[in-house]
Protein backbone atom coordinates (compact mmCIF):
# COMPACT_ATOMS: atom_id res chain seq x y z
CA UNK A 1 0.00 0.00 0.00
CA UNK A 2 1.43 3.37 -0.91
CA UNK A 3 1.49 6.31 1.42
CA UNK A 4 0.01 8.73 -1.12
CA UNK A 5 -3.74 8.94 -0.78
CA UNK A 6 -5.98 12.02 -0.85
CA UNK A 7 -7.25 14.20 1.95
CA UNK A 8 -10.35 12.98 3.68
CA UNK A 9 -11.89 16.39 2.98
CA UNK A 10 -11.71 15.66 -0.77
CA UNK A 11 -13.61 12.40 -0.66
CA UNK A 12 -17.08 12.79 -2.16
CA UNK A 13 -20.26 12.13 -0.17
CA UNK A 14 -21.36 8.56 0.44
CA UNK A 15 -17.99 7.14 -0.64
CA UNK A 16 -16.03 4.67 1.40
CA UNK A 17 -12.34 5.12 2.05
CA UNK A 18 -9.52 3.56 3.97
CA UNK A 19 -7.22 5.66 6.12
CA UNK A 20 -3.61 5.42 5.00
CA UNK A 21 -2.00 8.03 7.19
CA UNK A 22 -2.67 10.72 9.76
CA UNK A 23 -0.38 13.73 9.52
CA UNK A 24 -0.58 15.44 12.83
CA UNK A 25 0.95 15.84 16.23
CA UNK A 26 0.86 13.04 18.76
CA UNK A 27 -2.05 14.74 20.51
CA UNK A 28 -4.28 14.81 17.44
CA UNK A 29 -3.36 11.26 16.46
CA UNK A 30 -4.28 10.00 19.92
CA UNK A 31 -7.51 11.98 20.00
CA UNK A 32 -8.55 10.45 16.70
CA UNK A 33 -7.37 6.98 17.62
CA UNK A 34 -9.42 6.63 20.76
CA UNK A 35 -12.47 7.30 18.60
CA UNK A 36 -11.42 4.54 16.26
CA UNK A 37 -10.03 6.79 13.52
CA UNK A 38 -6.66 5.23 12.76
CA UNK A 39 -4.52 3.78 10.01
CA UNK A 40 -6.09 0.90 8.10
CA UNK A 41 -9.62 1.71 9.31
CA UNK A 42 -12.44 1.86 6.80
CA UNK A 43 -14.73 4.88 6.89
CA UNK A 44 -17.67 6.30 5.01
CA UNK A 45 -18.49 9.95 4.37
CA UNK A 46 -21.99 10.69 5.63
CA UNK A 47 -22.23 14.43 5.02
CA UNK A 48 -20.22 17.56 4.41
CA UNK A 49 -21.37 20.95 5.66
CA UNK A 50 -20.95 23.83 3.18
CA UNK A 51 -18.50 26.74 3.50
CA UNK A 52 -15.67 24.58 4.81
CA UNK A 53 -17.86 23.26 7.59
CA UNK A 54 -17.32 19.96 9.34
CA UNK A 55 -17.57 16.44 7.90
CA UNK A 56 -19.59 13.64 9.38
CA UNK A 57 -18.13 10.19 8.88
CA UNK A 58 -19.08 6.70 9.83
CA UNK A 59 -16.40 4.68 11.55
CA UNK A 60 -16.51 1.52 13.67
CA UNK A 61 -20.29 1.48 13.43
CA UNK A 62 -20.77 4.95 14.87
CA UNK A 63 -20.86 8.43 13.40
CA UNK A 64 -18.49 11.27 14.16
CA UNK A 65 -18.39 14.93 13.21
CA UNK A 66 -14.90 16.33 12.54
CA UNK A 67 -13.81 19.87 11.76
CA UNK A 68 -12.60 20.52 8.21
CA UNK A 69 -9.06 21.25 9.38
CA UNK A 70 -8.75 17.84 10.96
CA UNK A 71 -9.93 16.15 7.80
CA UNK A 72 -7.06 17.80 5.95
CA UNK A 73 -4.64 15.90 8.12
CA UNK A 74 -6.16 12.52 7.38
CA UNK A 75 -4.97 10.83 4.20
CA UNK A 76 -7.19 8.16 2.70
CA UNK A 77 -7.63 6.06 -0.39
CA UNK A 78 -11.10 5.76 -1.87
CA UNK A 79 -12.31 2.17 -2.12
Amino acid sequence: MDQQGIFLSNVPNNKRARIVNIQGGAGLVRKLQVMGIRKGQEIKIVSKQPFRGPLTIEVCGSQMTLGRGMTRKILVEVI
Binding site: R30, K31, Q33, V34, M35, G36, R38, V46, S47, K48, Q49, P50, F51, R52, G53, P54, T56, C60, G61, S62, Q63, M64, T65, L66, G67, R68, G69, M70
Partner: protein, 566 residues
Amino acid sequence: MGNPNVGKSVVFSRLTGANVIASNYPGTTVDFSKGKMRLDGEHVEIIDAPGTYSLEPTNKAEEVALEMLKEADVVINVVNATNLERNLYSTLELLERDIPVVIALNIWDETQHLGIHIDKKELEKILGVPVVPTVALTGEGIKELVSQIKNAKTNDKIKLTSEEGRWVEIGSIIKKVEQLEHRHHSIKDIISDLTIKPITGLPIAVGIVFFAFWLVRLIGENLIAYVFDPIFYNLYLPLIENLSEWIGGPGLVHTLLIGEYGKEIVFEESLGMLTTGLYVPIAMVMPYIMAFYFMLSILEDTGYMPRLATLVDNIFHKLGMHGHGIVPVFLGLGCNVPGALSTRTLETRKQRFISATLLAIAVPCMAQTAMVFGILGPYGMYYIGLVFLTLAILYIIMGLILNRVVKGESPEIFLEIPPYRRPSFKTTLKKTWMRVRWFLKEAIPFLFLGVVAINLLYYVGFLGWLGDVLSPVMYGLFGLPGDASIAMVVGFLRKDLAVGMLIPLGMSPLQLVVAATMLTVYFPCVATFVVLLRELGIKDMIKSVAIMVSTAAVVGFILRIILLGW
Protein backbone atom coordinates in the same frame (compact mmCIF):
# COMPACT_ATOMS: atom_id res chain seq x y z
CA MET B 1 -16.51 4.80 34.34
CA GLY B 2 -16.63 4.46 30.60
CA ASN B 3 -16.92 6.28 27.29
CA PRO B 4 -19.29 9.24 27.00
CA ASN B 5 -22.92 8.47 26.16
CA VAL B 6 -22.89 4.77 27.05
CA GLY B 7 -25.44 5.07 29.86
CA LYS B 8 -23.23 5.38 32.93
CA SER B 9 -25.64 7.74 34.62
CA VAL B 10 -28.56 5.42 33.97
CA VAL B 11 -26.64 2.47 35.45
CA PHE B 12 -25.74 4.70 38.37
CA SER B 13 -29.33 5.68 39.04
CA ARG B 14 -30.35 2.02 38.77
CA LEU B 15 -27.77 1.06 41.37
CA THR B 16 -28.43 3.85 43.81
CA GLY B 17 -31.99 4.91 43.10
CA ALA B 18 -30.63 8.43 42.79
CA ASN B 19 -31.94 10.90 40.23
CA VAL B 20 -29.40 11.92 37.66
CA ILE B 21 -29.78 13.50 34.28
CA ALA B 22 -28.97 11.44 31.23
CA SER B 23 -29.16 12.55 27.61
CA ASN B 24 -28.51 11.00 24.28
CA TYR B 25 -25.37 12.99 23.65
CA PRO B 26 -21.85 12.87 25.05
CA GLY B 27 -20.95 14.96 28.06
CA THR B 28 -24.18 15.31 30.02
CA THR B 29 -22.42 14.48 33.25
CA VAL B 30 -19.89 17.26 33.70
CA ASP B 31 -19.57 16.86 37.42
CA PHE B 32 -19.66 13.67 39.43
CA SER B 33 -22.60 12.53 41.50
CA LYS B 34 -22.31 10.34 44.55
CA GLY B 35 -24.84 7.84 45.78
CA LYS B 36 -25.10 5.02 48.24
CA MET B 37 -26.20 1.44 47.87
CA ARG B 38 -26.29 -1.65 50.05
CA LEU B 39 -23.99 -4.46 49.09
CA ASP B 40 -24.10 -7.60 51.25
CA GLY B 41 -25.36 -5.63 54.19
CA GLU B 42 -22.70 -2.97 53.88
CA HIS B 43 -23.15 0.60 52.69
CA VAL B 44 -20.94 1.42 49.79
CA GLU B 45 -20.54 4.70 48.00
CA ILE B 46 -20.91 4.82 44.25
CA ILE B 47 -19.63 7.64 42.08
CA ASP B 48 -20.89 8.48 38.62
CA ALA B 49 -17.90 9.82 36.70
CA PRO B 50 -18.02 11.92 33.53
CA GLY B 51 -17.33 9.97 30.34
CA THR B 52 -13.79 9.44 29.08
CA TYR B 53 -12.60 8.05 25.79
CA SER B 54 -9.21 7.40 27.31
CA LEU B 55 -7.43 7.88 30.60
CA GLU B 56 -5.35 10.69 29.14
CA PRO B 57 -7.71 13.62 29.67
CA THR B 58 -8.48 16.10 26.88
CA ASN B 59 -11.08 18.25 28.66
CA LYS B 60 -12.12 19.31 32.12
CA ALA B 61 -14.84 16.71 32.50
CA GLU B 62 -12.34 13.97 31.76
CA GLU B 63 -9.95 15.36 34.34
CA VAL B 64 -12.71 15.10 36.91
CA ALA B 65 -13.18 11.45 35.96
CA LEU B 66 -9.49 10.71 36.45
CA GLU B 67 -9.47 12.26 39.90
CA MET B 68 -12.36 9.95 40.80
CA LEU B 69 -10.42 6.92 39.64
CA LYS B 70 -7.61 7.56 42.08
CA GLU B 71 -9.95 7.15 45.04
CA ALA B 72 -11.90 4.16 43.76
CA ASP B 73 -11.72 0.66 45.25
CA VAL B 74 -13.64 -1.02 42.44
CA VAL B 75 -14.43 0.28 38.98
CA ILE B 76 -17.68 -0.56 37.21
CA ASN B 77 -16.70 -0.06 33.61
CA VAL B 78 -19.79 0.66 31.52
CA VAL B 79 -19.23 -0.33 27.92
CA ASN B 80 -21.40 0.31 24.87
CA ALA B 81 -22.01 -3.15 23.42
CA THR B 82 -22.91 -1.71 20.03
CA ASN B 83 -19.50 -0.14 19.76
CA LEU B 84 -17.22 -2.56 21.51
CA GLU B 85 -14.12 -1.88 19.48
CA ARG B 86 -13.83 1.74 20.51
CA ASN B 87 -15.01 1.25 24.07
CA LEU B 88 -12.42 -1.41 24.81
CA TYR B 89 -9.61 1.12 24.59
CA SER B 90 -10.32 2.71 27.95
CA THR B 91 -11.21 -0.73 29.32
CA LEU B 92 -7.70 -1.94 28.50
CA GLU B 93 -6.25 1.20 30.05
CA LEU B 94 -8.22 0.46 33.20
CA LEU B 95 -7.09 -3.15 33.27
CA GLU B 96 -3.47 -2.09 32.99
CA ARG B 97 -3.91 -0.30 36.28
CA ASP B 98 -3.94 -2.10 39.55
CA ILE B 99 -7.62 -1.74 40.23
CA PRO B 100 -10.41 -4.35 40.29
CA VAL B 101 -12.85 -4.00 37.40
CA VAL B 102 -16.27 -5.36 36.55
CA ILE B 103 -17.69 -4.67 33.10
CA ALA B 104 -21.30 -3.79 32.31
CA LEU B 105 -21.96 -4.51 28.65
CA ASN B 106 -24.69 -1.90 28.29
CA ILE B 107 -27.19 -1.18 25.49
CA TRP B 108 -27.21 -4.96 25.04
CA ASP B 109 -30.71 -4.94 23.56
CA GLU B 110 -29.66 -2.89 20.56
CA THR B 111 -26.94 -5.31 19.51
CA GLN B 112 -29.66 -7.70 18.39
CA HIS B 113 -31.35 -5.14 16.14
CA LEU B 114 -28.00 -4.16 14.73
CA GLY B 115 -26.96 -7.71 13.99
CA ILE B 116 -24.01 -7.71 16.37
CA HIS B 117 -23.23 -10.95 18.14
CA ILE B 118 -20.90 -10.80 21.12
CA ASP B 119 -19.52 -13.88 22.81
CA LYS B 120 -19.75 -12.75 26.40
CA LYS B 121 -18.03 -15.85 27.84
CA GLU B 122 -15.07 -15.46 25.54
CA LEU B 123 -14.76 -11.77 26.37
CA GLU B 124 -14.80 -12.63 30.06
CA LYS B 125 -12.07 -15.21 29.52
CA ILE B 126 -9.83 -12.85 27.58
CA LEU B 127 -10.23 -9.86 29.88
CA GLY B 128 -10.17 -11.97 33.04
CA VAL B 129 -12.87 -9.89 34.76
CA PRO B 130 -16.65 -10.38 35.12
CA VAL B 131 -18.71 -9.17 32.15
CA VAL B 132 -22.44 -8.57 32.60
CA PRO B 133 -24.79 -7.70 29.73
CA THR B 134 -27.15 -4.92 30.84
CA VAL B 135 -29.96 -2.76 29.54
CA ALA B 136 -29.82 0.06 32.04
CA LEU B 137 -32.87 1.85 30.64
CA THR B 138 -35.12 -1.08 31.50
CA GLY B 139 -33.06 -2.39 34.43
CA GLU B 140 -32.24 -5.69 32.78
CA GLY B 141 -29.04 -7.29 34.09
CA ILE B 142 -28.56 -4.79 36.92
CA LYS B 143 -29.13 -7.41 39.65
CA GLU B 144 -26.52 -9.63 38.07
CA LEU B 145 -24.16 -6.66 37.88
CA VAL B 146 -24.61 -5.99 41.58
CA SER B 147 -23.89 -9.60 42.48
CA GLN B 148 -20.75 -9.52 40.36
CA ILE B 149 -19.30 -6.42 41.99
CA LYS B 150 -17.65 -8.51 44.68
CA ASN B 151 -16.04 -10.66 41.97
CA ALA B 152 -14.34 -7.68 40.39
CA LYS B 153 -10.74 -8.50 39.65
CA THR B 154 -7.54 -6.99 38.48
CA ASN B 155 -5.93 -8.50 35.44
CA ASP B 156 -2.28 -9.43 35.79
CA LYS B 157 -1.89 -10.65 32.24
CA ILE B 158 -2.55 -7.28 30.68
CA LYS B 159 0.62 -5.27 30.98
CA LEU B 160 1.16 -1.60 30.43
CA THR B 161 1.70 -1.14 26.70
CA SER B 162 1.77 1.58 24.10
CA GLU B 163 -1.30 2.94 22.31
CA GLU B 164 -0.34 0.91 19.28
CA GLY B 165 -0.13 -2.21 21.41
CA ARG B 166 -3.61 -1.64 22.80
CA TRP B 167 -5.13 -1.29 19.35
CA VAL B 168 -3.48 -4.49 18.17
CA GLU B 169 -4.87 -6.23 21.21
CA ILE B 170 -8.36 -4.82 20.68
CA GLY B 171 -8.23 -6.01 17.08
CA SER B 172 -7.51 -9.55 18.15
CA ILE B 173 -10.14 -9.48 20.91
CA ILE B 174 -12.83 -8.23 18.53
CA LYS B 175 -11.98 -10.98 16.06
CA LYS B 176 -12.54 -13.57 18.74
CA VAL B 177 -15.70 -12.29 20.39
CA GLU B 178 -17.70 -10.32 17.84
CA GLN B 179 -19.57 -11.32 14.71
CA LEU B 180 -21.35 -8.85 12.46
CA GLU B 181 -24.36 -9.57 10.34
CA HIS B 182 -25.05 -7.49 7.31
CA ARG B 183 -28.00 -5.21 7.85
CA HIS B 184 -30.18 -3.05 5.72
CA HIS B 185 -30.66 0.67 5.87
CA SER B 186 -33.35 1.22 8.48
CA ILE B 187 -35.80 4.09 8.75
CA LYS B 188 -33.67 5.45 11.60
CA ASP B 189 -30.63 5.63 9.31
CA ILE B 190 -32.64 7.48 6.70
CA ILE B 191 -33.89 10.05 9.21
CA SER B 192 -30.38 10.36 10.56
CA ASP B 193 -29.02 11.08 7.08
CA LEU B 194 -31.75 13.59 6.29
CA THR B 195 -31.17 15.58 9.47
CA ILE B 196 -27.41 15.85 9.07
CA LYS B 197 -27.06 16.55 5.34
CA PRO B 198 -27.03 20.34 4.93
CA ILE B 199 -29.60 20.59 2.13
CA THR B 200 -32.32 18.82 4.07
CA GLY B 201 -30.86 19.24 7.56
CA LEU B 202 -30.90 23.03 7.73
CA PRO B 203 -34.57 23.49 6.80
CA ILE B 204 -35.47 20.67 9.18
CA ALA B 205 -33.44 22.32 11.95
CA VAL B 206 -35.20 25.66 11.44
CA GLY B 207 -38.52 23.85 11.45
CA ILE B 208 -37.73 21.91 14.61
CA VAL B 209 -36.53 24.97 16.52
CA PHE B 210 -39.59 27.00 15.54
CA PHE B 211 -41.93 24.16 16.33
CA ALA B 212 -40.19 23.62 19.66
CA PHE B 213 -40.63 27.24 20.74
CA TRP B 214 -44.18 27.36 19.47
CA LEU B 215 -44.85 24.29 21.61
CA VAL B 216 -43.18 25.87 24.64
CA ARG B 217 -45.39 28.92 24.33
CA LEU B 218 -48.50 26.86 23.80
CA ILE B 219 -47.87 24.60 26.78
CA GLY B 220 -46.73 27.50 28.96
CA GLU B 221 -49.71 29.73 28.18
CA ASN B 222 -52.17 26.94 28.78
CA LEU B 223 -50.56 25.97 32.05
CA ILE B 224 -50.88 29.57 33.20
CA ALA B 225 -54.41 30.09 31.97
CA TYR B 226 -55.88 26.81 33.16
CA VAL B 227 -53.75 25.78 36.11
CA PHE B 228 -51.69 28.49 37.76
CA ASP B 229 -53.82 31.60 37.39
CA PRO B 230 -57.00 29.89 38.63
CA ILE B 231 -55.10 28.59 41.65
CA PHE B 232 -53.61 31.96 42.45
CA TYR B 233 -56.68 34.08 41.78
CA ASN B 234 -59.42 31.80 43.04
CA LEU B 235 -57.77 30.06 45.95
CA TYR B 236 -54.78 32.09 46.97
CA LEU B 237 -55.96 35.69 46.56
CA PRO B 238 -58.78 35.41 49.15
CA LEU B 239 -56.25 34.05 51.64
CA ILE B 240 -53.96 37.00 51.11
CA GLU B 241 -56.85 39.47 51.38
CA ASN B 242 -57.77 37.91 54.70
CA LEU B 243 -54.19 38.13 55.84
CA SER B 244 -54.11 41.79 54.84
CA GLU B 245 -57.20 42.50 56.94
CA TRP B 246 -55.79 40.52 59.82
CA ILE B 247 -52.60 42.57 59.81
CA GLY B 248 -54.98 45.48 59.74
CA GLY B 249 -52.85 48.46 58.93
CA PRO B 250 -49.81 49.89 57.16
CA GLY B 251 -46.36 49.11 58.43
CA LEU B 252 -43.20 47.17 57.66
CA VAL B 253 -44.85 43.77 58.12
CA HIS B 254 -47.61 44.46 55.66
CA THR B 255 -45.23 46.01 53.16
CA LEU B 256 -42.83 43.09 53.39
CA LEU B 257 -45.40 40.33 53.16
CA ILE B 258 -48.05 41.78 50.90
CA GLY B 259 -47.15 45.23 49.65
CA GLU B 260 -48.35 48.74 50.35
CA TYR B 261 -51.43 48.78 52.60
CA GLY B 262 -54.70 50.03 51.25
CA LYS B 263 -53.80 49.52 47.61
CA GLU B 264 -55.44 46.79 45.63
CA ILE B 265 -53.34 43.66 45.52
CA VAL B 266 -51.81 43.18 42.09
CA PHE B 267 -49.73 40.01 41.96
CA GLU B 268 -47.32 41.42 39.37
CA GLU B 269 -46.64 44.75 41.08
CA SER B 270 -47.35 44.69 44.79
CA LEU B 271 -43.80 43.58 45.63
CA GLY B 272 -44.66 41.63 48.77
CA MET B 273 -42.97 38.34 49.60
CA LEU B 274 -46.25 36.45 49.53
CA THR B 275 -47.67 38.27 46.52
CA THR B 276 -45.12 39.18 43.85
CA GLY B 277 -42.43 37.06 45.50
CA LEU B 278 -44.46 33.90 44.94
CA TYR B 279 -46.52 34.78 41.91
CA VAL B 280 -43.72 35.82 39.57
CA PRO B 281 -41.53 32.72 39.88
CA ILE B 282 -44.32 30.17 40.26
CA ALA B 283 -47.17 31.37 38.10
CA MET B 284 -45.39 33.46 35.49
CA VAL B 285 -42.02 31.83 35.00
CA MET B 286 -42.26 28.21 36.10
CA PRO B 287 -44.90 27.15 33.56
CA TYR B 288 -42.57 28.19 30.75
CA ILE B 289 -39.60 26.54 32.43
CA MET B 290 -41.60 23.32 32.65
CA ALA B 291 -42.64 23.54 29.01
CA PHE B 292 -39.13 24.46 27.89
CA TYR B 293 -37.26 21.68 29.63
CA PHE B 294 -39.88 19.17 28.57
CA MET B 295 -39.25 20.12 24.98
CA LEU B 296 -35.47 20.18 25.45
CA SER B 297 -35.50 16.75 27.10
CA ILE B 298 -37.18 15.32 24.05
CA LEU B 299 -34.63 16.92 21.74
CA GLU B 300 -31.82 15.60 23.93
CA ASP B 301 -33.08 12.08 24.42
CA THR B 302 -33.75 11.46 20.76
CA GLY B 303 -30.15 12.40 19.99
CA TYR B 304 -30.94 15.43 17.86
CA MET B 305 -28.61 17.89 19.62
CA PRO B 306 -25.27 16.63 18.17
CA ARG B 307 -26.80 16.84 14.70
CA LEU B 308 -27.83 20.42 15.36
CA ALA B 309 -24.30 21.06 16.65
CA THR B 310 -22.90 19.74 13.36
CA LEU B 311 -25.19 21.98 11.32
CA VAL B 312 -24.38 25.16 13.24
CA ASP B 313 -20.68 24.41 13.70
CA ASN B 314 -19.68 26.80 10.96
CA ILE B 315 -21.25 29.85 12.62
CA PHE B 316 -20.03 28.94 16.08
CA HIS B 317 -16.52 28.32 14.78
CA LYS B 318 -16.39 31.95 13.63
CA LEU B 319 -17.42 33.00 17.13
CA GLY B 320 -14.41 31.21 18.61
CA MET B 321 -16.23 28.07 19.68
CA HIS B 322 -17.50 25.08 17.75
CA GLY B 323 -20.87 23.45 17.18
CA HIS B 324 -21.13 22.11 20.69
CA GLY B 325 -21.40 25.75 21.79
CA ILE B 326 -25.11 25.51 20.95
CA VAL B 327 -25.67 23.34 24.03
CA PRO B 328 -24.95 26.06 26.62
CA VAL B 329 -27.19 28.42 24.61
CA PHE B 330 -30.10 25.99 24.60
CA LEU B 331 -29.77 25.02 28.24
CA GLY B 332 -29.31 28.71 29.09
CA LEU B 333 -32.57 29.66 27.42
CA GLY B 334 -34.25 27.74 30.22
CA CYS B 335 -32.11 28.93 33.10
CA ASN B 336 -28.61 30.39 32.73
CA VAL B 337 -27.19 28.27 35.55
CA PRO B 338 -27.25 24.87 33.83
CA GLY B 339 -26.10 26.68 30.71
CA ALA B 340 -23.07 28.02 32.55
CA LEU B 341 -22.28 24.55 33.91
CA SER B 342 -22.39 23.01 30.48
CA THR B 343 -19.65 25.33 29.17
CA ARG B 344 -17.35 22.78 30.77
CA THR B 345 -17.75 20.42 27.87
CA LEU B 346 -15.83 22.86 25.66
CA GLU B 347 -12.15 22.03 25.55
CA THR B 348 -10.14 25.22 25.96
CA ARG B 349 -10.16 28.24 28.24
CA LYS B 350 -10.83 30.52 25.30
CA GLN B 351 -13.91 28.58 24.23
CA ARG B 352 -15.26 28.41 27.76
CA PHE B 353 -14.66 32.11 28.34
CA ILE B 354 -16.41 33.15 25.13
CA SER B 355 -19.27 30.75 25.64
CA ALA B 356 -19.85 31.83 29.25
CA THR B 357 -19.58 35.55 28.54
CA LEU B 358 -21.93 35.39 25.57
CA LEU B 359 -24.32 33.30 27.62
CA ALA B 360 -24.48 35.94 30.31
CA ILE B 361 -24.79 38.78 27.81
CA ALA B 362 -27.13 37.61 25.13
CA VAL B 363 -28.99 34.50 26.22
CA PRO B 364 -32.14 35.44 28.13
CA CYS B 365 -33.33 32.80 30.56
CA MET B 366 -36.96 31.75 30.61
CA ALA B 367 -37.61 34.10 33.51
CA GLN B 368 -36.48 37.06 31.45
CA THR B 369 -38.20 35.87 28.32
CA ALA B 370 -41.49 35.40 30.14
CA MET B 371 -41.23 38.89 31.63
CA VAL B 372 -40.30 40.47 28.31
CA PHE B 373 -43.40 38.87 26.81
CA GLY B 374 -45.33 40.04 29.83
CA ILE B 375 -44.41 43.72 29.63
CA LEU B 376 -44.14 44.10 25.85
CA GLY B 377 -46.80 41.62 24.79
CA PRO B 378 -49.64 44.14 25.08
CA TYR B 379 -47.87 46.43 22.60
CA GLY B 380 -47.35 43.74 19.98
CA MET B 381 -44.86 41.19 18.70
CA TYR B 382 -42.82 43.88 16.97
CA TYR B 383 -41.36 45.13 20.24
CA ILE B 384 -40.65 41.64 21.54
CA GLY B 385 -38.95 40.81 18.27
CA LEU B 386 -36.84 43.93 18.65
CA VAL B 387 -35.43 42.75 21.99
CA PHE B 388 -34.60 39.26 20.74
CA LEU B 389 -33.21 40.47 17.45
CA THR B 390 -30.89 42.83 19.32
CA LEU B 391 -29.74 39.97 21.54
CA ALA B 392 -29.12 37.65 18.59
CA ILE B 393 -27.12 40.29 16.73
CA LEU B 394 -25.24 40.99 19.93
CA TYR B 395 -24.37 37.30 20.37
CA ILE B 396 -22.82 37.21 16.92
CA ILE B 397 -21.03 40.56 17.01
CA MET B 398 -19.60 39.98 20.48
CA GLY B 399 -18.58 36.45 19.46
CA LEU B 400 -16.73 37.73 16.39
CA ILE B 401 -14.96 40.35 18.50
CA LEU B 402 -14.12 38.02 21.38
CA ASN B 403 -12.80 35.40 18.97
CA ARG B 404 -10.22 37.97 17.80
CA VAL B 405 -9.41 39.47 21.16
CA VAL B 406 -9.30 36.49 23.48
CA LYS B 407 -6.02 34.64 23.32
CA GLY B 408 -5.85 30.90 23.14
CA GLU B 409 -6.86 28.08 20.92
CA SER B 410 -10.25 27.15 19.71
CA PRO B 411 -10.07 23.60 18.45
CA GLU B 412 -12.44 22.25 15.85
CA ILE B 413 -15.54 20.23 16.45
CA PHE B 414 -15.00 16.58 17.22
CA LEU B 415 -18.22 15.03 18.28
CA GLU B 416 -19.89 11.68 18.29
CA ILE B 417 -23.29 11.47 16.58
CA PRO B 418 -25.32 8.91 18.51
CA PRO B 419 -28.02 6.87 16.83
CA TYR B 420 -31.59 8.15 17.23
CA ARG B 421 -33.44 6.66 20.15
CA ARG B 422 -37.08 6.93 21.00
CA PRO B 423 -37.33 8.94 24.21
CA SER B 424 -39.27 7.31 26.99
CA PHE B 425 -42.09 9.46 28.28
CA LYS B 426 -41.31 8.55 31.87
CA THR B 427 -37.65 9.54 31.70
CA THR B 428 -38.54 12.74 29.88
CA LEU B 429 -41.01 13.73 32.58
CA LYS B 430 -38.57 12.80 35.31
CA LYS B 431 -35.81 14.83 33.74
CA THR B 432 -38.11 17.81 33.26
CA TRP B 433 -39.14 17.61 36.88
CA MET B 434 -35.52 17.42 38.06
CA ARG B 435 -34.63 20.55 36.14
CA VAL B 436 -37.74 22.39 37.31
CA ARG B 437 -36.94 21.44 40.88
CA TRP B 438 -33.49 22.82 40.29
CA PHE B 439 -34.99 26.13 39.23
CA LEU B 440 -37.27 26.20 42.28
CA LYS B 441 -34.36 25.52 44.61
CA GLU B 442 -32.27 28.31 43.12
CA ALA B 443 -34.88 30.84 42.18
CA ILE B 444 -37.30 30.91 45.08
CA PRO B 445 -34.77 31.77 47.81
CA PHE B 446 -33.25 34.52 45.70
CA LEU B 447 -36.64 35.96 44.85
CA PHE B 448 -37.68 35.92 48.47
CA LEU B 449 -34.43 37.50 49.56
CA GLY B 450 -34.68 39.90 46.66
CA VAL B 451 -38.12 41.06 47.66
CA VAL B 452 -37.05 41.48 51.28
CA ALA B 453 -33.90 43.34 50.33
CA ILE B 454 -35.74 45.66 47.96
CA ASN B 455 -38.42 46.45 50.46
CA LEU B 456 -35.91 47.16 53.20
CA LEU B 457 -33.82 49.32 50.90
CA TYR B 458 -36.94 51.20 49.87
CA TYR B 459 -37.98 51.57 53.47
CA VAL B 460 -34.71 53.16 54.52
CA GLY B 461 -34.81 55.39 51.44
CA PHE B 462 -31.70 54.00 49.78
CA LEU B 463 -33.35 53.09 46.50
CA GLY B 464 -35.07 56.43 46.20
CA TRP B 465 -31.75 58.14 46.73
CA LEU B 466 -30.01 55.90 44.19
CA GLY B 467 -32.74 56.58 41.65
CA ASP B 468 -32.19 60.31 42.07
CA VAL B 469 -28.42 60.05 41.82
CA LEU B 470 -28.46 57.85 38.70
CA SER B 471 -31.33 59.64 37.10
CA PRO B 472 -29.17 61.99 34.96
CA VAL B 473 -27.17 59.02 33.69
CA MET B 474 -30.25 56.95 32.98
CA TYR B 475 -32.01 59.79 31.26
CA GLY B 476 -29.02 61.38 29.58
CA LEU B 477 -27.47 58.22 28.16
CA PHE B 478 -30.35 55.83 27.72
CA GLY B 479 -33.45 57.99 27.70
CA LEU B 480 -34.95 56.13 30.64
CA PRO B 481 -36.61 57.45 33.81
CA GLY B 482 -34.33 57.59 36.85
CA ASP B 483 -36.30 54.93 38.68
CA ALA B 484 -35.27 52.41 36.01
CA SER B 485 -31.91 52.34 37.76
CA ILE B 486 -33.65 50.74 40.73
CA ALA B 487 -34.74 47.92 38.48
CA MET B 488 -31.15 47.56 37.32
CA VAL B 489 -29.97 47.17 40.90
CA VAL B 490 -32.70 44.64 41.59
CA GLY B 491 -31.61 42.81 38.46
CA PHE B 492 -28.53 41.66 40.33
CA LEU B 493 -30.80 39.52 42.46
CA ARG B 494 -33.51 38.41 40.08
CA LYS B 495 -33.99 39.43 36.48
CA ASP B 496 -37.65 38.52 36.34
CA LEU B 497 -38.45 40.69 39.30
CA ALA B 498 -36.47 43.57 37.83
CA VAL B 499 -38.33 43.42 34.52
CA GLY B 500 -41.54 43.41 36.54
CA MET B 501 -40.45 46.58 38.31
CA LEU B 502 -40.37 48.39 35.00
CA ILE B 503 -44.15 48.07 34.66
CA PRO B 504 -45.27 50.83 37.04
CA LEU B 505 -42.79 53.36 35.61
CA GLY B 506 -45.12 54.27 32.78
CA MET B 507 -42.55 54.04 30.02
CA SER B 508 -43.25 53.99 26.31
CA PRO B 509 -42.89 50.63 24.52
CA LEU B 510 -39.61 51.71 22.95
CA GLN B 511 -38.22 52.76 26.31
CA LEU B 512 -39.25 49.37 27.63
CA VAL B 513 -37.32 47.72 24.80
CA VAL B 514 -34.17 49.61 25.75
CA ALA B 515 -34.58 48.85 29.44
CA ALA B 516 -35.41 45.16 28.97
CA THR B 517 -32.48 44.65 26.62
CA MET B 518 -30.06 46.37 28.99
CA LEU B 519 -31.36 44.32 31.89
CA THR B 520 -30.59 41.13 30.02
CA VAL B 521 -27.14 42.19 28.93
CA TYR B 522 -25.50 43.98 31.81
CA PHE B 523 -25.11 41.25 34.40
CA PRO B 524 -26.21 37.68 35.05
CA CYS B 525 -28.36 36.95 38.11
CA VAL B 526 -26.57 36.11 41.34
CA ALA B 527 -27.01 32.35 40.94
CA THR B 528 -25.42 32.38 37.49
CA PHE B 529 -22.72 34.74 38.71
CA VAL B 530 -21.66 32.29 41.43
CA VAL B 531 -21.48 29.39 38.99
CA LEU B 532 -19.53 31.43 36.44
CA LEU B 533 -17.11 32.55 39.12
CA ARG B 534 -16.43 28.93 39.96
CA GLU B 535 -16.08 27.91 36.32
CA LEU B 536 -13.94 30.78 35.06
CA GLY B 537 -11.95 31.78 38.11
CA ILE B 538 -11.85 35.25 39.62
CA LYS B 539 -9.54 36.85 37.06
CA ASP B 540 -11.50 35.82 34.00
CA MET B 541 -14.74 36.60 35.77
CA ILE B 542 -13.67 40.21 36.36
CA LYS B 543 -12.86 40.51 32.67
CA SER B 544 -16.13 38.91 31.76
CA VAL B 545 -18.14 41.26 33.98
CA ALA B 546 -16.29 44.27 32.57
CA ILE B 547 -17.28 43.13 29.08
CA MET B 548 -20.90 42.65 30.15
CA VAL B 549 -21.27 46.05 31.79
CA SER B 550 -19.59 47.98 29.00
CA THR B 551 -21.56 46.08 26.37
CA ALA B 552 -24.79 46.93 28.17
CA ALA B 553 -23.86 50.61 28.24
CA VAL B 554 -22.90 50.70 24.57
CA VAL B 555 -25.94 48.73 23.46
CA GLY B 556 -28.27 50.83 25.60
CA PHE B 557 -26.82 54.00 24.12
CA ILE B 558 -27.02 52.77 20.53
CA LEU B 559 -30.58 51.53 20.98
CA ARG B 560 -31.55 54.83 22.50
CA ILE B 561 -30.25 56.73 19.49
CA ILE B 562 -31.87 54.36 17.00
CA LEU B 563 -35.19 53.92 18.76
CA LEU B 564 -35.75 57.06 20.78
CA GLY B 565 -33.76 59.58 18.81
CA TRP B 566 -31.27 61.97 20.34
